[in-house]
């Protein structure tokens, strides 16, 4: 128990350090990129321009801005959006986050279920027709960018069959296509990982022991081989979550989902310093927490691994 507390405290301190580094890098990079939030094509009255900049602290030196922004961020105030008038960054995050999280979770779920089932079936039918077919599909899935998959699926399910809506946000029906497109490449990768992992454990002595006990082939795979065979999948979950997040930037755009990804891209293009910063910090936090969960899940999956 004390080990676990120590582990969590340490990880929490690391999280703070990581967030600070990410904050600093983003702050410097955003302000070094040419352009600014209030540069317009049409000349604005210099007096008005000055007033706007003063309102957002942009008239101060970079150092002063850094300290002020950092101070506010630490207190949990990410400031007003520079571009979406009347909204604070906190409000925008709170609005977009549930959509993105729902989409990402569904995508991850699809990736895990499809990937693990396909990989396990493939491994237990090694070299056969089903194995080859599944792995061919998996290779295609890894090779195709998700916007290509999205276009094909829209063609088939929206335009030809009219089963699903093309874009927008509302019920679960709106989520199916984008979540599938987002999850598909990861499903393919997880399938390959599962297959490799399962093939390795299926040749282990303890699997032979399980057969010797008289267990059915199904029980041998699910009860004995799977835990070890899925370890590579567990360690891939961290990178997978990060990948699904970045993937959702594109997918949200294609399917016109008003989620964090869409706001993030707009913020970067518009030089909306505060909103972009909010998104960066939020994604950092999410990836970090997911990796922490993966590490903890490892100790549950493999009793020989301890937290430290």
């Amino acid at each position: 128990m004390r080990d676990v507390l120590r582990f969590l405290t340490l990880r929490f301190l690391w999280l703070l350090a990581t967030l600070w580094v990410v904050f600093t890098l983003s702050f410097v990079l955003m302000r070094e990129v040419p352009g600014g939030p209030f540069l317009m094509e049409q000349q604005v009255d210099p007096v008005i321009q000055k007033q706007i900049e003063a309102a957002y602290d942009l008239d101060k030196t970079k150092w002063e801005q850094y300290v002020i922004t950092l101070g506010k961020t630490v207190r949990g105030d990410l400031g007003p959006s520079f571009k979406m008038r009347d909204y604070t960054v906190n409000e925008i995050l709170a609005e977009g986050m549930p959509r993105s999280v729902a989409l990402g979770t569904l995508a991850l779920l699809i990736a895990l279920v499809l990937g693990i089932v396909a990989g396990t079936v493939s491994a237990s039918r090694r070299g056969g027709f089903i194995d080859r077919g599944l792995m061919l599909v998996a290779t295609i899935g890894i090779a195709l960018p998700n916007f290509v998959i999205a276009s094909i699926l829209i063609l088939v399910f929206v335009i030809q069959l009219s089963w699903l809506p093309a874009a927008g946000w509302g019920s679960l029906r709106f989520m199916i296509l984008p979540a599938f497109c987002l999850g598909a490449p990861f499903a393919a990768y997880i399938a390959r990982l599962t297959r490799t992992g399962m093939l390795e454990t299926l040749t282990q002595d303890y699997v032979r022991t399980a057969h010797a006990k008289g267990l059915s082939p199904w029980r041998v795979v699910t009860g004995h081989a799977m835990k070890g065979g899925l370890l590579p999948v567990a360690s891939f979950l961290g990178p997978a979550v990060a990948g699904i997040l970045t993937g959702s930037l594109v997918i949200e755009k294609i399917f016109a989902i008003p989620g964090l990804g869409t706001y993030f891209v707009q913020a970067a293009l518009n030089r909306d310093y505060t909103l972009a910063m909010g998104c960066v910090l939020f994604y950092t936090l999410l990836v970090y927490v997911m990796n922490l969960l993966v590490d903890i899940s490892y100790t549950i999956l493999d009793p020989r691994v301890r937290l430290d």
């Binding site: 002595d205 303890y206 057969h211 006990k213 020989r304």
Partner: protein, 330 residues
């Protein structure tokens, strides 16, 4: 069932492996039988077919193996035309097997309690508290201290000898008629080896089961097995009561094995060995497969492979040469 009944009857078992380098003939006509309560030692080098013979019995070989036999009877029932499901119901229930390395043979991801309980649930249908009690009792029976706490532990939290005890407890949970112990002590310290053999002997007395003890170590067989089979290149080359085998070995290979046992009373003289390596089972030479390594080889040995022939008192050997009188290992 009467004492002395035949538990296992095996006739002319063949196992071939289909490999990239051709067909490997791992087992070439093995026949033997075990009576209830009897212990049989099976001795031979790596690759002699001693493990493959028994894995075939349990249908545990990979798909590349082709198994054929004239007779394969378990307590009077033929296993030859059993379905895969029927064969499965034999495993763990009537024939159980324990393996060489209990570290790799136990599942590292499951507690030992889970792994043992699985057997009671599968073969006796136990559930709930009765299942827990049976599992704890099984660990106690194999001499594991504080079993009620150790059922929560994982295999890596046990020592080598304790792990093998867990393995034995698990495999005996189905109350098998026949236990096949494949090199059960090879991976263990010498002192622990004796404890495990004692444990097996005690369990055999209590339960009246039969044991096949597979080993490359004649010393292990000596005090333990009623009868001993010596295997070479996929065949039984000698079979006898264990004491007869030690006092009057009738095959040059058996003599070679006996001579290569290190002995404390012989001072520091160089250990004798059987020169050469076992033959390639995918390209066996004509005649006796041991001929290239044999001290007593004659021309006729290279022409025809000798069959097991009786030497009196149930002693059989597959050698045509008249061997000199055995003076003990020198």
């Amino acid at each position: 069932m009467l004492a002395g009944d035949t538990v296992l009857d095996l006739g002319d078992l063949h196992v071939d492996f289909d490999t990239d380098d051709g067909v490997v003939r791992a087992v070439r006509g093995v026949s033997y039988s075990i009576k209830r309560g009897q212990t049989i030692g099976v001795v031979g080098e790596s690759g002699s077919g001693k493990s493959v013979t028994h894995l075939a019995l349990l249908d545990l070989l990979p798909e590349t193996a082709t198994i054929s036999a004239d007779v394969m009877r378990l307590a009077g029932r033929s296993m030859l035309n059993m379905s895969a499901k029927e064969r499965r119901s034999v495993r763990g229930n009537e024939i159980a097997m324990i393996f060489q390395d209990p570290m790799t043979a136990l599942n590292p991801f499951l507690t030992v309690g889970t792994q043992i309980a699985e057997m009671f649930r599968l073969h006796h249908g136990l559930r709930g508290q009765r299942l827990v009690d049976a599992t704890i009792q099984a660990l106690a029976d194999v001499g594991i201290p504080r079993p009620e706490r150790r059922i929560e532990d994982y295999p890596h939290e046990f020592s080598g000898g304790m792990r093998q005890r867990v393995m034995i407890a698990m495999m005996l949970a189905g109350n098998p008629e026949l236990l096949i112990a494949d090199e059960p002590t090879t991976a263990l310290d010498v002192t622990v080896q004796a404890q495990i053999l004692d444990l097996l002997a005690g369990l055999q007395r209590d339960r009246g089961m039969s044991i096949v003890l597979i080993t490359h170590d004649l010393g292990v067989v000596a005090g333990f097995a009623h009868r001993t089979l010596v295997m070479y290149a996929g065949r039984v080359v000698e079979e006898a009561e264990t004491s007869a085998l030690f006092w009057n070995p009738q095959h040059p290979y058996t003599r070679g094995l006996l001579s290569s046992i290190p002995r404390l009373d012989r001072g520091s003289q160089k250990l004798r060995q059987i020169v050469g390596a076992p033959p390639d089972l995918s390209a066996l030479p004509q005649g006796c497969p041991f001929a290239p390594r044999c001290d007593f080889v004659e021309d006729r040995c290279r022409e025809q492979e000798p069959l097991l022939a009786p030497r009196g008192d149930g002693h059989t050997a597959a050698c045509v040469v008249t061997l000199p009188k055995w003076e003990g290992a020198v």
